[in-house]
Amino acid sequence: MSAKRKIEVALAGNPNSGKTSIFNALTRAKQSVGNWPGVTVERKEGRFVFEGHETKVVDLPGTYALDAYTLDERVARDYLTCEKPDAVVAVVDASNLERNLYLVAQLLELGAPVIIALNMMDVARSRGLEIDIDRLEKVLGVKVVPTVASKGVGIERLQQVVHDIHRDAPPPGLPISYGDDIEGGLAQLTEAVRAAWPDRTEGARWWALKLLEGDSDALALLAGDGAENALREVLDKVRTGLEKHIGADVETAVVERRYGFLNGVVRECTRRLPGVAGRLATSENIDWVVTSRWFGIPVFLLLMWGTFQLVFTAGAPLADIVDTFFGWLGGATGSVLSAARAPDWLVSLLTEGLIGGVGSVLVFVPNIVILFLVISLLEESGYMARAAFVMDRFMHLLGLHGKSFIPMIIGFGCNVPAIMATRTLESRKDRMLTVLVNPLMSCSARLPVYILFTGVFFTRQRGLVVFTLYLLGIVLAVLVARLFKRVFFKQEVAPLIMELPPYHLPTFRSVLTHMWERAWLFVRKAGTVIALASVLIWLLASLPWGVEYASESSIIGRLGGLVAPILKPAGFGYWWAAVSLAAGVVAKELVVATLGAIHGGVAGGLNQVLSRSFTPLSAYGFMVMSLVYIPCVASVAAIWRETNWRWTALAVGHTIVLGWLLAVLIYQVGGLLT
């Protein structure tokens, strides 16, 4: 055994078991975030050094079991079976022992070298629960380290135990006895597995169990020919025999007996202190109001309103500061470069292209930081699950999940943080649908377009017209979500089996860590894509050499001229309309800014040009187009970050088609009616 060998440990545990806190406490700042290969499940890694030895920690997705029925479970199980970490730290909520141990039992049956971090010991104690640690270690045959991750208690000892793992003999595996009947069948099946798959390293008993439980992955392996034939026969025989004997399906019986064993373990190792309320009194009291028939929805709406206010009202002055800073930076860079006799094109590229473009995106950072502060507060306190509980009925009608509501609301402010907020959704189906329809929520950057056009064409009913646009966005989102659900996710059922964890006070550090992670992701990932896109747009607007920026003879102007005929059926087939829409892809406010730049500003002739070129119908069509067509670059980058290029292409493609169709429909059908 080489002492310098790098140890790799995995962190497994139920959602809400404090796994993230343990991860943060173990690895401190040495973390990196990525995705598991091929799936959009977040993969977090960290490192810690103990007595000079470095240990890598891989944070597995939070799961309740290892059944390979959800994407998270599959990711966790594949990692455990393929990469065989040196140890698995199973984070167990001490105040909810029985259900948390279910995952531990499965880990042990898999043959994983488990160390239990018995977390939330303080909560368990306050609930009057006393746990006999020595006994638990003996019964399960693993090391148990009591911890309170939020306060850093027990972390050093956990590091020590992890560090020592390679010195200890491998654990014997959990000897759960499933009763004479099932054990008999298991023995036969184990023998057959050993014969059929001599080189499967996970252990024949584990595969035999999985086969008996009807595990989909295990059954898929049976599809092979050759050795599998004999195995299939044995499985059928054992299964029918057991079913007849037990009088129920074997799957249920296996889980029932596994839980029966754990129930026994919990009884043996815990003691309820007399005189302490067994339930979480405070948590129940909060729920009595927050999820009640009368107050549930008002409380939810109030919190959402508060979030919205905080993010966009409190964020606004900060965003102004960022904006002013980039304005100053652009100006200063410009004058410094001019003084140094730099060529004009370089000055323009740096100031208008790069600084202007990147600045227009970094303006969102204050809002994003505040938003994720609020979201991590809502999530870590336990309210998020209640919000989903309260709103699920409504969102289910739209084909979405209760938790989809929050990203949708945030989308009215800005789609970028909204798309990033979809991470709170567990099922891939819900997440993709919520991401895809989110740009249809009319964000605040569309407002300048509405203000400009309603000011010219709908002076009397301005409010009403703008309201119909917001409403149209919602209706479209519902229709698109239902359509995509039918097309892409026909097979997937996403049941709402959602834990309502006890409320608890989030710790300062975990909230800040979470917030920082998200904000940094945005700055880094969105920032690079956006810098490229800004430079590209600048090039198109400035080439060929010597043309006026974004004029008719620039490349973008000529492209506008090419696109104009396509826009003609919608009633605005002008090159400058096309150019302004193209510029709006960078940021939707730029639609107005570009129109102004081309037609001499709002103070100049813009209003006259608009009232000459548009009818009220085509103006409405143009606003609908601005709402629906391609999400802005920052949103597209966010979509890309959260999904993959296929979904991103779909998000861009379907909105172009939908926006154009609607604009044409409004102009043509409206023209017939009037």
Partner: protein, 157 residues
């Protein structure tokens, strides 16, 4: 014990014992691993404002299921009834109290908590319910009484 029914029909405050699970293998498996195994006690905690989903307590924690998922779980209700429905003059034992901490504290002051024996002495179908606990007389408002669940006292426990 009464005849089996499905969990979505278990009224708020009532308890049942899981007897079996229906439904597709995937969803049945998830319900099983969350603790809905045969023999487990379940209590309906509350129904969401729009009538769906429903929150349950199982194995000492709370979780919510949509009605369609709860309908896969067969339960047998525990034979108990609200104090308002209990017969007058029979020996009863409190089996559980459905309510927040405030309610339970007020009831505890009147010596009413699970395991306590009592007799309902008067119930005029309107107005308070009169009970006697340990030879003391108490009056409970109907709202409060409807949250106290009792079983017939067969002299054990």
């Amino acid at each position: 014990m009464r005849e089996p029914m499905t969990l979505d029909n278990l009224a708020v405050g009532r308890r049942g014992i899981v007897r079996g699970l229906q439904g597709q293998s995937g969803i049945r498996r998830r319900l099983l691993s969350m603790g809905f195994v045969p023999g487990t006690e379940v209590e309906t905690i509350r129904v969401a404002p729009m009538g769906d989903p429903i929150a349950f307590e199982v194995k000492g924690y709370n979780l919510s299921l949509r009605r369609e998922e709860a309908a896969f779980i067969e339960v047998e209700t525990i034979e108990e009834f609200a104090l308002t429905e209990a017969p007058v003059g029979k020996a009863l034992v409190v089996s559980h109290v459905h309510g927040g901490w405030g309610l339970r504290r007020r009831l505890r002051r009147a010596m009413i908590e699970p395991g306590v024996r009592l007799v309902k002495t008067r119930d005029n179908w309107v107005g308070p319910v009169a009970i006697s606990v340990a030879d003391q007389m108490h009056q409970l408002g109907r709202g409060m009484a409807s949250r106290v669940f009792v079983q017939a006292d067969n002299g054990q426990s």
